[in-house]
């Protein structure tokens, strides 16, 4: 250890050109990644300036007229802003209430199962949907729920004689999104909580049993406190990402009939920017979302650190 620091100290004292001469390979390896980050991460950030322009692809970034806050003003004055905010928050909060506890419950259940093969095969089944693409999830949803030949509608029809407009009805959209989310994401969250549970000292359970604590008491007093930190971090991540409602999923499930409840910031940016070519306005919307999202992430992280958790960044 002493030798290591000595060596570092020695190299730190070298002038840069001598260090570079010895370690030019490091810079050669560093270069492609550095160019990547400049081109694909930082140039788009500087290009956000088009949010303050009337960007015209023919005129380009430097000749397009500068219009200041016009697009932001239009966005906040229009009706769309509140619709987007309402839809985004509704989906996020439903996910928080219904999806968030699922991985914890499942992990606690599986933790009680001592038969290894049974446990791991159930774990495998729950984990599979996580690796399936959103397109497959949406495809399965469409084939199960559509009105013409979807099996769920056929079952409903056999009982009630009527079909339900799951895919176009506004009242079903959010429910379907949350159920898809639970099905697809529970496995991933479960793995994280199971990893945290694997670190619990078995002797604690032993001691609790000797003291006469039953299964539920052990779960309440040993298992849950052991994963409290993980739960808090996962909750912070979710709250920080409250404006990210899973663009791919919502885009696949939305259509012209349920748009008034399905449109969120990302789908709105896509539809106006890419489909309609309103580059500047949609960039302004995206920039607003990006800044609020950034504040949310940093803010929740700060709160976590104040609460004595480790935080993420």
């Amino acid at each position: 250890m002493a030798g290591k620091t000595a060596l570092i100290n020695k190299t730190k004292k070298q002038p840069f050109h001598i260090y570079f001469k010895h370690h030019w390979w490091l810079y050669a390896m560093f270069l492609p990644g550095a160019i990547y980050f400049i081109v694909f991460k930082y140039i788009p950030i500087t290009n956000l300036v088009i949010a303050f322009q009337d960007y015209n692809p023919w005129l380009g970034l430097f000749k397009s007229p500068f219009v200041g806050w016009k697009h932001f003003e239009n966005f906040f004055k229009g009706n769309d802003f509140f619709m987007l905010l309402r839809n985004t928050l509704a989906i996020s909060f439903l996910n928080l209430i219904f999806y968030f506890p699922m991985p914890i419950i499942v992990a606690l259940l599986l933790n009680e199962i001592k038969n290894y093969r049974y446990k791991s095969s159930i774990q495998t089944m729950i984990y599979i949907p996580y690796f399936i693409s959103m397109v497959i999830v949406a495809s399965i949803t469409y084939t199960l729920l559509n009105e013409r030949d979807g099996v769920i509608n056929m079952i409903i029809k056999e009982f009630s004689g009527e079909t339900v407009k799951f895919l176009s009805g506004k009242e079903y959209f959010r429910g379907i999104i949350v159920i898809q989310n639970i099905w697809k994401e529970t496995g991933w969250g479960m793995i994280i909580f199971l990893a945290a549970l694997a670190g619990v000292d078995m002797e604690l359970y032993e001691a609790a049993r000797v003291d006469g604590a039953g299964r539920w008491k052990q779960m309440w007093h040993i298992t849950l406190p052991a994963i409290r930190g993980t739960i808090v971090i996962m909750l912070i991540l979710r709250v920080g990402a409250i404006l990210n409602t899973g663009f791919e999923q919502i885009f696949l499930m939305s259509n012209s009939l349920n748009r008034s409840v399905a449109e969120v910031f990302d789908t709105y940016v896509y539809r106006l920017g890419i489909t309609n070519g309103q580059y500047s306005f949609s960039t302004a919307v995206g920039l607003f979302k990006g800044i609020v999202g950034c504040i949310m992430v940093l803010g929740t992280n700060w709160v976590a650190k104040r609460c004595g958790e480790t935080g993420i960044y």
Binding site: K4, L109, I126, G273, K289
Partner: protein, 301 residues
């Protein structure tokens, strides 16, 4: 100690035994619910169209039929898509791994000058990005539309994966590298001969992260690839199953892709099956290394 444990087991109250049985059954049910949709899709793809559309079809077909698979083989679109997906996934994963590891190595060296500044600039991009439109305009201005560069290069380094790899490299004992330096190895030799071979577990996990992400992506392909012969499997699945549904929903907005007519239910199911199979084939590896990767990430967090 052991004696006590055993006696406890025998005594285990009736309530306790009922609750453990309940837990076993309930957990089993959750598992079955999770794979039920797959069973339906696989079963349905072997059923006849008549059976699927006349009454509620439940998983086991009464009449076995391969017509749907014959149809999609004749149609060929989805297999072309699978071929394209394999090209994008293999090429994209190799590119991402080369870019990520070569960038992570210098940043893992505490003696690397410029390390802190670079790391901070990378972490900024984890919190804030230019967003969809500037990204799209960039790819467009680089002339990458309709090429697979657009699908592989913009995502070649995930800052998150890079940090995981960097942290793993950092934990390799520096003494090994110093010994190699004394033996006359260059930094690149050290990276290739010492660091990479010692990092196999994390490299396996990260390459699977990248590969699954590339395989499952449809949005970038939709954004950047207009030429339908270059479409990946996910996008073709979407046009066969989801866009064809537009007919049922609105009666007006139609996009049937190339087929010209709405595909039948069995064909949609069969297309879903062949798009899902590649992931299921590699699933055992994925599960093993993904779990490891998640844990490495979690330890870091």
């Amino acid at each position: 100690m052991i004696k006590q444990k055993r006696s406890n087991k025998i005594k285990g109250s009736l309530g306790d035994r009922i609750s453990i049985t309940g837990i076993y059954i309930f957990a089993g049910l959750i598992g079955i619910i999770c794979i039920l949709p797959f069973l339906y899709v696989v079963g349905g793809s072997f059923a006849t169209e008549k059976e699927l559309t006349e009454k509620a079809f439940l998983i086991v077909p009464s009449e076995f039929s391969l017509n749907a698979f014959k149809f999609i083989i004749d149609d060929g679109r989805i297999f072309n898509g699978l071929k394209n997906s394999i090209i994008v996934t293999v090429w994209g994963t190799i590119l991402a791994m080369v870019m990520t590891t070569t960038f992570a190595y210098p940043l893992s060296r505490s003696d690397f000058r410029g390390r802190n500044l670079s790391l901070n600039l990378v972490i900024v991009t984890m919190v804030f990005s230019g967003g969809m439109i500037p990204g799209y305009l960039l790819v467009k201005s680089l002339g990458m539309l309709d090429s697979y560069w657009a699908l592989t290069l913009p995502g070649a380094i995930s800052a998150f994966n890079m940090v995981i790899v960097k942290n793993f490299f950092q934990n390799i004992p520096r003494e090994l590298e110093e010994a190699a330096t004394i033996d006359g190895c260059s930094d690149f030799d050290i990276f290739v001969k010492i660091v990479l071979p010692l990092s196999k577990p994390v490299l396996a996990s990260i390459s699977l992260f990248y590969a699954v992400g590339l395989w499952n992506d449809y949005f970038n392909c939709m954004l950047y690839i207009n030429d339908s012969s270059k479409h990946t499997a996910q996008l073709i699945l979407r046009s066969i199953v989801i866009l064809a549904q537009g007919f049922d929903l609105t009666g007006s907005r139609l996009d049937f892709g190339l087929a010209g007519a709405p595909p039948e239910q069995a064909v949609k199911l069969a297309t879903t099956v062949v798009t899902t199979i590649p992931i299921l084939i590699v699933y055992p590896f994925i599960q093993k290394f993904f779990t490891k990767g998640v844990m490495i990430g979690a330890v870091k967090g």
